[in-house]
Every structure is written in C-alpha cells, then in structure tokens.
C-alpha cells in the first residue's frame, strides 16, 4: 500500500497553501476529534464534503481522493460484508434488503451497515484532513514553526527527512528489483522462496541506506547541524487574516457541537439506530 502514495508537498498557488501549517494541523486534530465523538452519518458527511471542497480549493483533491479510495474501499466492502450480513454482529435487527445466493436468503441489516458507514466516514475525515495538512504545507514553514516551539532541531530533522528518504528508497527498490529479476528472481514461487526474494531486495536496500548514513551525517555537520548556535530562518510563517477566519469558524462550530452534545447527545440528526460502542 505504501508504494501507492506519492508523498510530498507540491508548491501550488492556492488559498489553502497560503494558510499557516498550524491552522491546517489544528483543523486536522479538530475534525478528527469531533468525528470520533459524534455518532452521526449526517454530521460526518457534512465534515467530509467540507474537507473535499477544501482539497479542491487546495488543488490536491485528485491525489487525496485516490489515496482515500485505495485505502477505504476495501475496508468498507470487507467490513460491510462481515458486519451487515447475519454473520454475528449482535446489534443487527432491522432488515434493509434481501437477496438470494445459491438458494440461500441473505439479508443486509441497517444497524451493521450504519456502523460500518460511520467508522469508514470517520477514517475518511481524519485521513483527508491529515493529507490536506501534509500535502499543502511547505516543509520549510513546518520547520520554522517547530523551531519556534523550541523542539530540538535533531528531532525536526528526523521527522522531515523521512519524507525525503521514502521516495529515494522507493526508487532504489525498483532498481534492485529490476536487477534481481534480470538475475532470475521469480515471484510466482512458494512461500519460503518468496521470503528469500524479499531478503534479496531488502538486504541491498538496507546496506545501501546504511552506507549513505555516514555521508549524510558528514553533509549535515558541514552545514552546522549540531552547532551550538541559535538557528536562523529562511522562511517566515505568520498567521494571516485567512488563518484567523478559519480558526474563528472552528471555534464557533465547536461551541455549536458542544451545545448539541449537551442538549441532544451524540446522535444529532440520525434517528432510529442505536448508538453502538465497539466494545459493547
């Protein structure tokens, strides 16, 4: 799955790109928390549609929707087949529809279908908001902000350099794989041989990465990586009017959500379906 994602920030001229990374990160946390609190398809759908609009404005909708569908469609289909069918989900009571397979009557139940839909939407929202932050935030601005928050530079380096390393390693895997195929590597083999194939790719990749380690350490030191001096910033990151607008909307909606939770409960618009906790 991890090879399917084209990681990384792309410079684009959009309103979402101009937002401060802190605002987008708060949006990610805020959207995720409220969606895991509410148990309501309508609220989750409203959140998801709003986030998709933001991804369109941010010109990253295509990338995000591709990732979301690759991850969540199998999750949704498999979970629905297990939970909404009469396999053992204990809350299934209301039949949605029935059909016949090989002479057996199969019924889909409302409670199971709703449970899977809500959890899938929750995941879709948290993933969309995370990717919106990640794909539209300039790493240099993130570094500046993290340094301002007094996070040691070595940890910031560790976090941000992963995103540079992953595409490098993915390219190397292809090179090693092609080389191994030319040496007779066959993927249509038994389990034990597949494990050997795995090692045939993994060991050169790891050895190559380890031999780069010293080079990278020297390169970093030559630019004063661990010099005991105050770091200066090339890029500034300040909150703008747009950030304050987005933050204000989040504060106002939070007040509304808290009001709903106190007065109505966790299911505001969805009626006729029980609130189900995974642990019963």
């Amino acid at each position: 799955m991890s090879n399917l994602i084209q990681l990384g920030y792309e410079e684009k001229d959009s309103w979402v790109h101009k937002l401060d990374p802190r605002t987008k990160f708060i949006l990610f946390i805020w959207a995720s928390i409220f969606n895991y609190i509410f148990y309501d398809i309508y609220i989750s759908l409203a959140f998801l549609i709003s986030l998709i609009v933001l991804t369109i404005v941010g010109k990253v909708a295509k990338r995000i929707l591709k990732i979301i569908s690759i991850v969540l469609i199998p999750f949704y289909v498999l979970s629905t087949l297990v939970i909404a069918l009469p396999i053992g989900f204990p809350y299934n009571e209301t039949p949605l529809f029935s059909f016949t397979v090989f002479g057996f009557d199969v019924t889909f139940y409302l409670e199971g279908a709703a449970y899977v839909a809500i959890w899938t939407l929750r995941l879709a929202i948290t993933m969309t908001s995370a990717l919106l932050f990640f794909l539209t935030s300039n790493p240099a601005r993130i570094t500046t902000i993290l340094l301002k928050l007094r996070i040691p530079y070595k940890y910031i380096y560790a976090l941000l350099s992963v995103f540079q390393l992953i595409p490098i390693m993915q390219r190397r895997i292809q090179v090693i794989y092609q080389a191994q195929v030319s040496r007779g590597l066959n993927v249509n083999v038994g389990l034990f041989k597949r494990l050997k194939n795995f090692l045939a790719i993994l060991i050169p990749l790891t050895l190559g990465s380890m031999s780069d380690l010293q080079l990278r350490a020297i390169a970093l030191e030559s630019r004063g990586f661990s010099a005991p001096v105050k770091k200066t910033f090339i890029v500034r990151s300040d909150l703008t009017k747009s950030d304050y607008v987005v933050l204000s909307v989040m504060v106002a909606l939070s007040a509304l959500f808290i009001y709903w939770i106190i007065t109505v409960g966790l299911m505001v618009f969805m009626k006729g379906i029980p609130y189900i906790r995974p642990a019963g």
């Binding site: 799955m1 991890s2 090879n3 994602i5 995720s32 990732i67 991850v71 199998p74 999750f75 498999l78 979970s79 297990v82 939970i83 396999i87 053992g88 989900f89 204990p90 449970y115 899977v116 959890w119 929750r122 995941l123 929202i125 948290t126 995370a130 990717l131 932050f133 990640f134 070595k154 560790a158 976090l159 350099s161 992963v162 995103f163 390393l165 992953i166 390693m169 993915q170 895997i173 993927v187 389990l191 597949r194 494990l195 795995f198 090692l199 790719i201 993994l202 060991i203 990749l205 790891t206 050895l207 990465s209 380890m210 380690l213 990278r216 350490a217 970093l220 995974p278 642990a279 019963g280």
Partner: protein, 205 residues
C-alpha cells in the same frame, strides 16, 4: 596529506555516534514504510512493518529503534491511516523494548534459531493485545487489514461468539504470531549481513 605528515586521525567518538544515531532514526522509519512496497512486489502474505524497528535496536540501541518505529507510525498517521492511528506508535515502542530485552539476553541471534523463533512468537502473542486495543479505539474493532484470510478469521470468530473485540483479537493472533516472528528473524539476518563498522551497539556475546 597523510598521517605521516602530522594529521591526527581520531576514531569516531561518542559525539560522532550520536549524529549517526540521529540520522539513522528517519532511515528506520523509512525502511519500515517501504517494506510495504517490497511485500507487494514479492507477494508475501504479511506486513513485516516492524522489522526495521527491531533492526534499529540491534544496530543502534533501544532509543533509536523505538524513536524510528514511533516516527514511522506518525508518518503513517499523517499520510495513510489518519489521526487515531498514531497510537500504533506505542506498538512499535513495545516491539523495540521487547527486542532489546531479547537482544540483551542473547536470543536475537541467527545462530540460535530456536531462541530467535521463541522470541518472535512471544513478541507476536503479547503484541496481539496492544493491536486489539488500537483496533477498537481507532477502527471500531472492524476487520482492518485488506486480507481475505484475516477477514475470514474475524468473521468466523464473530459468528462463533458475537463479540467484535474477540473477533478482532483472533484475527490479530492469526497474523501477529508469524508476522512478528518473521520480522524479528529478518532483522537478525539483515543485521548479521551488515559490516561491523555500522553496528553502533555493544555486542551481547
């Protein structure tokens, strides 16, 4: 210029090792991440995305493996899995700790396959409880892996007991035992293939 002309060549000290360890942390995270791509290429029915955490512990010590593993889950939470999945990071920290314990005890050694397999099985079994907890909190105890085998085990357990948490635990057991055993074995094999100059930890032997 050479040493004979008066240039003093110093061995790499603790300071240089610290820099190397810091640079190794993102490498560990990236190796865990790209393992998914190699698994897909070689069609292995496993995840193996903790092997680099164990490898980091063997090569550079507990905190490097733990931070690398934790970082991997932060990256996954920011990209593929979403916010609640950052708690998987604690599973990687647990994997790092248990690997370190077995490594210090001399069990993570390809010359001692029985002990190494036992260490993997113990790691896998104890890890199922943590996996189930994360599955309940982050994924509603639904079948999370897009694997027909795990889903079949989940469906069987749910049908037998009507308990989603138990079904989730059973599907974890079905995979974690062999997945973590193979992952630990791979970490030991790759570490043994590494030239000694890359090993930043003291030998257990």
């Amino acid at each position: 210029m050479s040493e004979e002309e008066g240039i003093e060549v110093k061995p790499m000290g603790a300071y240089g090792e610290t820099i190397l360890k810091i640079v190794l942390i993102p490498v560990i995270a990236a190796l865990n991440y790209v393992t998914g791509a190699i698994v897909t290429l070689t069609r292995l029915p496993a995840f193996l995305d903790t092997w680099a955490t164990s490898f980091g512990v063997i090569v550079a010590g507990l905190w490097v493996g733990a931070l690398g593993g934790f970082l991997y889950n932060i990256i996954m939470a920011l990209t593929l899995w979403g916010l609640p999945a950052w708690v998987w990071g604690f599973i990687n920290v647990y994997i790092a700790i248990i690997t370190w314990v077995f490594y210090r005890a001399g069990w993570v050694d390809i010359k001692k396959p029985v002990k190494l397999i036992a260490a993997g099985l113990i790691t896998g079994f104890t890890n199922t409880f943590a996996c189930t907890l994360v599955s309940v909190v982050a994924f509603g105890a639904l079948p999370t892996a897009p694997s027909p085998f795990m889903t079949a085990v989940y469906a069987w357990a749910l049908n037998a007991t009507g308990n989603m948490v138990f079904a989730s635990w059973m599907s974890s057991v079905a995979v974690e035992l062999y997945d973590k055993t193979i992952a630990l074995y791979i970490a030991a094999i790759v570490a043994s293939a590494l030239p000694k100059r890359f090993i930043l930890t003291k030998s257990t032997s």
